[in-house]
Symmetry: C2
Subunit: 279 residues, 2 copies
Amino acid sequence: MRVNGKDTTHINLQDRGLQYGDGLFETIAVSNGRLEFWQRHMQRLQLGCRRLNIPPPDSQLLLDEARQIVGRRHKAVLKIIITRGEGGRGYRPPAQTSTRPNRIVSLHDWPDYTAANASEGISLRYCSTPLGINPVLAGVKHLNRLEQVMARSEWNDAEIQEGIMLNSWGDVIEGTMSNLFFIKDGMLHSPDLSNCGVAGIMRGVILELARSANIPLKVGCYNRADMDAADELFITNSLIGIWPVQRLEQRSFDIGPLTRQIMSTLDNARCNDISHETV
Amino acid sequence: MRVNGKDTTHINLQDRGLQYGDGLFETIAVSNGRLEFWQRHMQRLQLGCRRLNIPPPDSQLLLDEARQIVGRRHKAVLKIIITRGEGGRGYRPPAQTSTRPNRIVSLHDWPDYTAANASEGISLRYCSTPLGINPVLAGVKHLNRLEQVMARSEWNDAEIQEGIMLNSWGDVIEGTMSNLFFIKDGMLHSPDLSNCGVAGIMRGVILELARSANIPLKVGCYNRADMDAADELFITNSLIGIWPVQRLEQRSFDIGPLTRQIMSTLDNARCNDISHETV
């Protein structure tokens, strides 16, 4: 683990990341010598920094650091946290010119997900913890994640792999650690994230792949009834890629043809996408 | 600064406070050998821990630590942070029995507020950053404070001391670092915090003092029009006590008789309240 390029296991207690969750992060799949979708992750990180008025890190510096940390590891998770650093009086951030962000880069074991999640599909539940609505923060992968922590602590059943979160208007938004897609009458749908939620890199990849493949596509506003009426359902994130859903509460789903087509297209992209970087 | 009783300036990078804002805090006024409203702060801390399923700290241990850290300082700010500690896989918290919370206690200089804020009143503005609605987290002084950080960064004008935040329904809730009260036709009003906001210790004290003094009182749902129609307006927090408002955007206010009465009652409580602890 490194903070601003130095090996360390600790960070200053005054860091605003700890004090206020004042920062953002990226979780990147390291697979077979590739930093998957690296350039997309960097674009989102820069965009998030602009949204929060945090001076963005140098992408080349981060890439060099990522390569050093990953070394010869074949399969791992690279996590990058950027905080606003120390300083400022209370909530008020220091002026941008005197902000010294902290850059935390760490490598983690690949989670022990069973292959059956992708091949046979997973079971979902609805969470009762809502997502607050806030267009100022929506889409950004920031460090304020208590809603996800509370939602994920709602169940212990190992047979249920993910929980769906609704916003305070009752719209279906995303999973605790994933984005959500469904298919109805041949059209691919995914919830709009302009009021809350995290705009996942894998979600962006899949939206692009669907456009390129001329799959009819809509990003919109959906509720539980739309989920129940769906023909196919799947979740996505940068590590899992796509997991089809075979059960949502009492309703069961088949892994349908369009889900299989998108999974196969994504497999190619995970091998060949131009936004990867090599380790 | 201490972490779990040890002098240190740093904390482990794996701490969930940094990773997810997974924790909560208290900001306590140290004044003339007293830890103001200590027992109330401890009650809120315990309540917050229960809401977030974090094992609560031992209050006596915290009190001993606070006394050691404060030492002979006459006027200072004591900050206590409790995080869920390290561990768990992703957002999922470790089981409560294997949770080892981290306890961070630090002492800070008293902010250099001018005495005129209390004697002549302050100027307020409205912030455009909304507060997300989330009854699961409402009231808790947790570490997810990006909304406040973004709201506080909306203005640089030193003549404006505080900004009012609305929730995503347009209800007036609180200041970025304070709670809000207004008086209309002899009745004291304060926004309901069951959907968002921080239930401030000073707010609780003032609600109690008002009840004891038989001041007509309502905690309810209010909007900008209610603020404009108010006779008197003031904000509160544990450090400032009460600051009357002399201007909100274009509207000016006098420091009225009921505000003065409550300020005077609070002065007594800050000297004599039974919930204080001595250093």
